[in-house]
Assembly symmetry: C2
Homo-oligomer: 391 residues x 2
């Protein structure tokens, strides 16, 4: 079987890492066949890093070149959907970086395009390859935790310095990035959250803009959600705490799981609490239970795992770990969170008024400080440890 | 020095335990000199438990009897302030059960009375005697955590069965108790929270009424607060989860502490994060730090510790662990939380409109199912383990 001829669009930190991974032949069945960036400086870098690999300045020309089978989209967020849509419409497979885009309405158009296409459409939720989160999902989805009562995720270990924000001129701007910690770092967690617990039906958020950094977007957020059955959820994230916490707790009628410090701890009740509650003739517990601590030597295959899965899906029809359309779920939560903040921390029902969100975001983008220019840029081409699950 | 002649008003679960503690001579310098309850059944019980101890049906007659030095108030919450005020005005020392009362406005009147009195006024925040919480407070108050960034308390191990709620007819009613988990169980934690982190300036709450039990008040609540410096806090509690969690995390510019499972873990940064943030020429950490795990063999002296401290304060002027006026702080948070819920989960500034709160509470009390009658009652006279800090 021939290698999948693959291009990377956007040769920044992530794009350089993906291109390097392909260039070094680490993905079976997939090769780096082109790179694309509007920046001459970055294309220069590509000449040094990836000698012999064709370069393009214009992505439309590249996808029309007839030399490609698949494209990885690693440009700034507000261009993901437009480019991915065009790639699919050109008859190529596409994998886009997270988030799917900056607004649900744009993500929805991409999904529509993908429905009309028979090409593979994936998204880079690399943390879905973490074995403990996969196990947590299995426990919840199989009903072994009973009916959901509550989820609480404290995910505050996305620490970033001002240096980080200064490293890309598009970063942490409304027009260049479309949001802050909820749109850049936390999408991984927002995705895992909905992947494991399901989608909320209502979102209230408290987002603090420039709380810790000189930026124009939020670097701290607390989100309160409600699920369809009345269960509640809390999601707390920031790039301004050190050392942060990564602790996900999910409570159900059959017990509780907590993921923290690389351990999945599972309290399994021997009787359903919602029965015991009305039958026990004592004021409180105990309810008999088993406690299991799950650790694993299995590795998080991370970005390379998602790329390999993308390649396998194209070549062998392997089921996607992270199907592209799933991207709209976490984006729905973060969009709703922004809308809640912008409207005075009110509860936003899901689905929400997408036109209203787009108008509000556009207002902020208009006043944004972002202007396209070549920023400081010195990626090492490696997948940073900080992009994986960090306990 | 003569023993402090002490009465207990309200011989329910708590009152029976306090009376037993005094009757058995476990508090040096203090003796049980009278008991008071409106219920003939309960006074009968007292005859068996505390033979020879004078009984009263009417608390006003008792405090006017001239036979007492101090009174412990253990009646249902909505009568705490009225009785404690009368006790102080009668020239006696008073210790009231938590909460101070059901509304800040009533608590305020009690504080006014205490200011005019030279008698000792204490409140039963027994969990303040826990050595780990005392240590946490010391760390925060001494500035060793730097400036506060965030606090998150998941305190969901207040599990209660329907049997518990059925055990007292006043329980979990707006008129009889004045609230649910925020007014009965969580006051301990709300008090410790403000005792350690300080008072918030704004409170938003999501309270679920009768989510898990057949009651008329909330048995589940998530509270989001803001402190004066912009720091945020989240407080999550319920009586409907098993097994619950008791985990307090506090993040500051100099690190983080987490109290869970009987351990206080302390991450101490070697440089202030708010300096590193702008000086480090890397994208994220690490910031060098020391990690300390603090455990202790020292016991939580709990209720008896607070009673002994009350006695010592009366006899020797010992500083109170839990001064009565402090009771208004946690009550301010829970009142604001109710008001937030009642007004549609809006942010309530602190101080809030107390008259509005009182009107809203009165509305609910009017429609309450509570009618005074003798409920099932079989206290064992012991301080239940479940009233202490439970990891």
């Amino acid at each position: 079987m021939k290698n999948i001829r693959t291009a990377v669009i956007g040769i920044g930190n992530m794009g350089t890492a993906h291109a390097t991974c392909l260039y070094e032949g680490r993905i079976i069945g997939m090769e780096l066949s082109a790179v694309c960036d509007i920046s001459p400086v970055r294309r220069e870098e590509c000449s040094r890093r990836f000698p012999g690999v064709p370069q393009f300045e214009n992505w439309r020309e590249m996808i029309a070149s007839g030399t490609l089978d698949a494209v990885i989209v690693a440009v700034p967020h507000p261009m993901h959907a437009e480019i991915a849509t065009a790639v699919l419409e050109a008859g190529l497979h596409v994998l886009t970086e997270k988030p799917m885009d900056v607004s649900v309405s744009k993500g929805r158009k991409l999904i529509e395009a993908s429905k009309k296409s028979d090409r593979v459409f994936a998204i880079m939720f690399n943390q879905r390859t973490n074995p403990l989160f996969r196990r947590a999902r299995e426990i919840v989805k199989s009903g072994q935790l009973g009916e959901l009562k509550r989820s609480v995720w404290i995910i505050t270990n996305w620490y970033r310095t001002q240096h980080y924000y200064d490293s890309g001129d598009w970063r942490a701007t409304w027009s260049g990035e479309g949001g802050g910690v909820l749109l850049n770092q936390a999408p991984h967690n927002l995705d895992l959250w909905q992947w494991i617990c399901g989608m909320p039906v209502e979102v209230t958020a408290f987002c603090d803009v420039a709380k810790y950094h000189n930026i124009e977007v939020e670097d701290d957020a607390t989100i309160f959600v409600r699920y369809e059955n009345g269960a509640t959820g809390t999601f707390i994230t920031t790039t301004g705490e050190y050392p942060g916490t990564n602790r996900l707790e999910i409570a159900g009628t059959l017990g509780k799981i907590v993921l923290e410090n690389g351990v999945l701890k599972w309290w399994k009740l021997e009787q359903p609490e919602d029965v015991v509650r009305f039958e026990l003739k004592k004021n409180s517990g105990p309810i008999p239970m088993q406690v299991e601590e799950i650790t694993t030597d299995e590795k998080e295959t991370a970005h390379a795992g998602i790329l390999q899965n993308f390649a396998n899906a194209i070549q062998h029809g392997e089921a996607l770990i992270s199907p592209g359309p799933d991207g709209i779920c976490e984006l729905t939560i973060s969009n709703a969170a922004y809308l809640s903040q912008w409207k005075g921390n009110v509860a936003i029902p899901v689905p929400f008024d997408e036109a209203e969100f787009d108008r509000e975001l556009a207002k902020r983008a208009e006043n944004s400080n972002y202007h396209i220019k070549d920023g400081v840029h010195n990626p090492d081409g490696k997948y940073s440890e900080r992009w994986q699950v960090n306990w």
